[in-house]
């Protein structure tokens, strides 16, 4: 299958976010989950897809079943935060992840140039996306170092000392990513990114049937939700 264009994926993100801000029913949530899962599956990301479905199922189960049995006030508000409030952001994270994990930076630059987005927006965006795998790599090292120092990143520590644990994670992560970010920018500049002239792109952008279908479908869903209130 030919893969989707980055522009289409960005449109998907916008559509999902719009639909969610309009306020949606449980039925609609399931429908969006199904659509996004389908996208993940067409890219062969079966494991990731399953993980998302499980998380979602857990939140629905918590909301509809667990919460009815719990009477302790503070626990109820805490669980509401997880099961209901977090669920509102769930789809944003899922679509963003889909975008990041399936988009190569050169494809993104090429498609954004094609629709005449100015360089001042494209370059920072591309650097941002380039940064995610770096952060992940750094994080693996930091986790090993925390393990070495007996600073827990396990469930127990995160629950009982959340602020401290997060601080210990963030301090080295921020310092090393800032340093890498600086070096990365210097290297990109030294290689002439942002030269005035029109850049060439080895990657050729072309919209195909799948792109048009996904775009029209996303647009239709937004209108359907806004005007008819969804399912």
């Amino acid at each position: 299958m030919k893969s989707l264009d980055s522009t289409t994926k960005i449109l998907c993100i916008i559509a999902v976010n719009l639909i969610i801000t309009f306020g949606i029913s449980i039925k609609m949530e399931f429908f969006i989950l199904a659509c996004l899962s389908l996208l993940f599956l067409t890219y062969g990301k079966i494991r990731k897809c399953l993980v998302y479905i499980l998380i979602f199922a857990f939140m629905i189960f918590g909301d509809k079943v667990l919460l009815h049995y719990i009477t302790i006030d503070w626990l109820v508000s805490f669980l509401c935060l997880i099961f209901i409030t977090f669920r509102k952001f769930f789809f944003c994270i899922m679509t963003a992840d889909f975008f990041i994990s399936t988009t190569k930076i050169n494809e993104l630059i090429a498609s954004l140039e094609k629709i005449h987005i100015p360089q001042v927006i494209i370059i920072p965006l591309a650097v941002l996306i380039r940064f995610f795998p770096t952060v992940k790599e750094e994080w693996e090292h930091i986790r090993a170092a925390m393990h070495m120092r007996n600073i827990g990143t396990g469930f127990k520590e995160v629950v009982f000392h959340p602020v401290k644990t997060i601080e210990y994670m963030l301090v080295p992560l921020l310092f090393s990513t800032v340093k890498i970010g600086e070096e990365l920018s210097a290297a990109a500049l030294a290689r002439g990114i942002g030269m005035e002239k029109k850049r060439t792109n080895l990657y050729k952008v072309s919209f195909n049937m799948a792109d048009y279908l996904v775009m029209i479908f996303s647009l239709a869903m937004v209108i359907f939700q806004k005007i008819y209130g969804g399912f």
């Binding site: 190569k104 930076i105 050169n106 591309a126 650097v127 380039r130 795998p133 770096t134 790599e137 750094e138 090292h141 930091i142 090993a144 170092a145 925390m146 393990h147 070495m148 120092r149 007996n150 600073i151 601080e167 210990y168 301090v171 080295p172 310092f175 090393s176 340093k179 890498i180 070096e183 990365l184 920018s185 210097a186 290297a187 990109a188 500049l189 030294a190 290689r191 002439g192 990114i193 942002g194 030269m195 005035e196 002239k197 029109k198 850049r199 060439t200 792109n201 080895l202 990657y203």
Partner: protein, 495 residues
């Protein structure tokens, strides 16, 4: 024609970084010449390079005085963006100079920025790949490459954009012996094409048959200038006075040395048996050592080529890598894994990942809150950190950070300390300090191990060598006279 000409060039950084500036630099480099800048860390080598490729003051802000001419044209008249067509730069950190994540796209990146035609770009990418013999690296995921391979891609990318001047800022800093050999071959090819090259480096040996001139910098000024022959004649004493590394390992051979321990002298030792590592998806064992010994109260150097399994060995020993299985005996008694994990500590190469708090004092206590007060001050002063109690660990120098990490390990009662490449990218003086640190450690802990590619460090301080290759133990020997011969033959880069 002069490719690079600097006239009364001074640069001072904005903000706190006041020390690393340069003053009154006058330099002219002919077309096709290869010039090496040497000097201790912070002497201003990198700043000179940044003034040439324009990153100072375009990216690193500060005040620039004097004139820079590139290929006969005043740099003031060239827009920064267009300088990349004249100057191609390779930096020291292979992890942070890539924009794309695919090797072939990355090589094309500079050409894309120049707006060349697609056909031309493809031609140039293929030429680069062919010239540097990196067919095996084409079209691959950059994040999965080794440091040396990444550095080759960086060179290929620069070569593809066809600059007249190559500006190389410690390209070997994070690389091992084999990778340095490859980089050397690449720089040689660039020189054969009559391109102008200016390099700043600490490691000098691999450049000795490439460079034409050597400039020694100190405190932001060029103080001495050598031809290659003059430089080669400097004695090791004269080099060390300047804080420089030995440009030839044979120099080190001649030096006096006084370790006379034999294998039988190591009466206290750990015996390791059946050290294996097999990953789930692999059919082969990454590590497979039947038996080896680690003498206590000695300084053990672990050597081997890239990917030999040195890090796996050490990570397994410290219990960081769960795939490694090993049995460790002391005086015939098995040390349980949990005890081994509790008592061992590894100082990683990237020490920034290992510091978590806001002050050195807090950092040392972290993870061992129960021994409050216990000779903390004494420990810190023995590591030369007494004056930095309230300093933020990230504000310290690289060497001091290493010491803080080690202080925290000692404070939490670790008895076995492993260091991973503690001297990569360090000048002679800094390396000397690390050697001193190892000496201090030797008296404080039971076991000291160093993974290293640094011959000077080993000769300076280590007493025992463990040589691993392809996941197997090649040899283990004390650094006596015979041991030194073996060590020199391992580091013989002409082989």
């Amino acid at each position: 024609m002069e490719a690079i000409k600097l006239e009364n060039l001074s640069f001072s950084y904005n903000g706190q970084n006041l020390n690393n500036g340069i003053h009154n630099i006058n330099l002219s480099v002919k077309e096709g010449e290869c010039v090496l800048l040497v000097g201790t860390s912070g002497c201003g080598k990198s700043t000179v390079l940044r003034a040439i490729n324009g990153l100072a003051p375009y990216f690193y802000e500060g005040k620039l005085e004097g004139e820079v001419f590139l290929m006969g044209k005043s740099a003031k008249k060239i827009r920064f963006e267009n300088k990349s067509k004249i100057c191609g730069s390779v930096f020291q950190n292979p992890r942070s100079q890539f924009f794309y994540l695919n090797t072939s796209s990355e090589i094309a990146f500079g050409c894309e920025n120049q707006g060349l035609s697609q056909k031309e770009i493809e031609k140039r990418v293929n030429e680069s790949i062919k010239l540097f013999r990196i067919d095996n690296l084409a079209d691959r995921d950059i994040l999965k490459l080794s440091g040396g391979e990444k550095q080759k891609i960086a060179f290929a990318g620069i070569y593809a954009s066809r600059p007249d001047i190559y500006v190389l800022d410690e390209p070997s800093a994070n690389l091992d012996l084999d990778a340095i050999k490859d980089i050397k071959a690449i720089i040689k090819k660039i020189k054969e094409e009559k391109k102008t090259i200016i390099i700043a480096e600490h490691r000098l040996y691999y450049l000795m048959d490439i460079v034409d001139r050597i400039l020694y910098m100190d405190k932001g000024e060029i103080v001495e200038e050598f031809t290659l022959d003059e430089f080669k004649k400097l004695s090791s004493k004269e080099l060390r006075k300047r804080g420089l590394r030995a440009p030839d390992y044979r120099m080190l051979k001649k030096e006096a040395f006084n370790i006379t321990k034999k294998k039988s002298d190591f009466d206290e030792k750990l015996i390791l048996k059946d050290i294996t590592c097999q990953y789930k998806k692999s059919r082969f064992k990454t590590l497979n050592i039947k038996e080896c010994q680690l003498p206590l109260h000695e300084k053990i150097a672990i050597i081997g080529h890239n990917g030999a399994g040195k890090s796996t060995f050490v990570n397994g020993f410290c219990g960081m890598n769960k795939n490694v299985k090993a049995r460790v005996y002391k005086d015939g008694k098995l040390i349980p894994l949990r005890k081994r994990v509790r008592e061992s500590f590894e100082v990683f190469q990237e020490v920034n990942h290992q510091l978590f708090t806001n002050s050195v004092e807090e950092e040392v206590s972290l993870g061992s809150e129960d021994n409050t007060g216990k000779n903390k001050l004494e420990l810190l002063s023995s590591l030369g950190l007494k004056d930095f109690l309230d300093t933020h660990p990230m504000a310290l120098s690289g060497g001091q950070k290493q010491r803080v990490a080690i202080a925290s390990a000692l404070y939490s009662g670790r008895r076995m300390i492993c260091l991973d490449e503690p001297t990569s990218g360090l000048d002679y003086r800094q390396m000397d300090k690390v050697a001193g640190l190892l000496d201090t450690l030797q008296s404080k802990v039971d076991l000291t191990m160093v993974i290293t590619h640094d011959l000077e460090l080993i000769l300076k301080t280590c007493t025992y060598v463990l040589h691993i290759e392809n996941g197997q133990l090649v040899e283990e020997y004390p650094l006596d006279k015979e041991g030194r011969e073996k060590l020199f033959s391992f580091f013989d880069y002409e082989k």
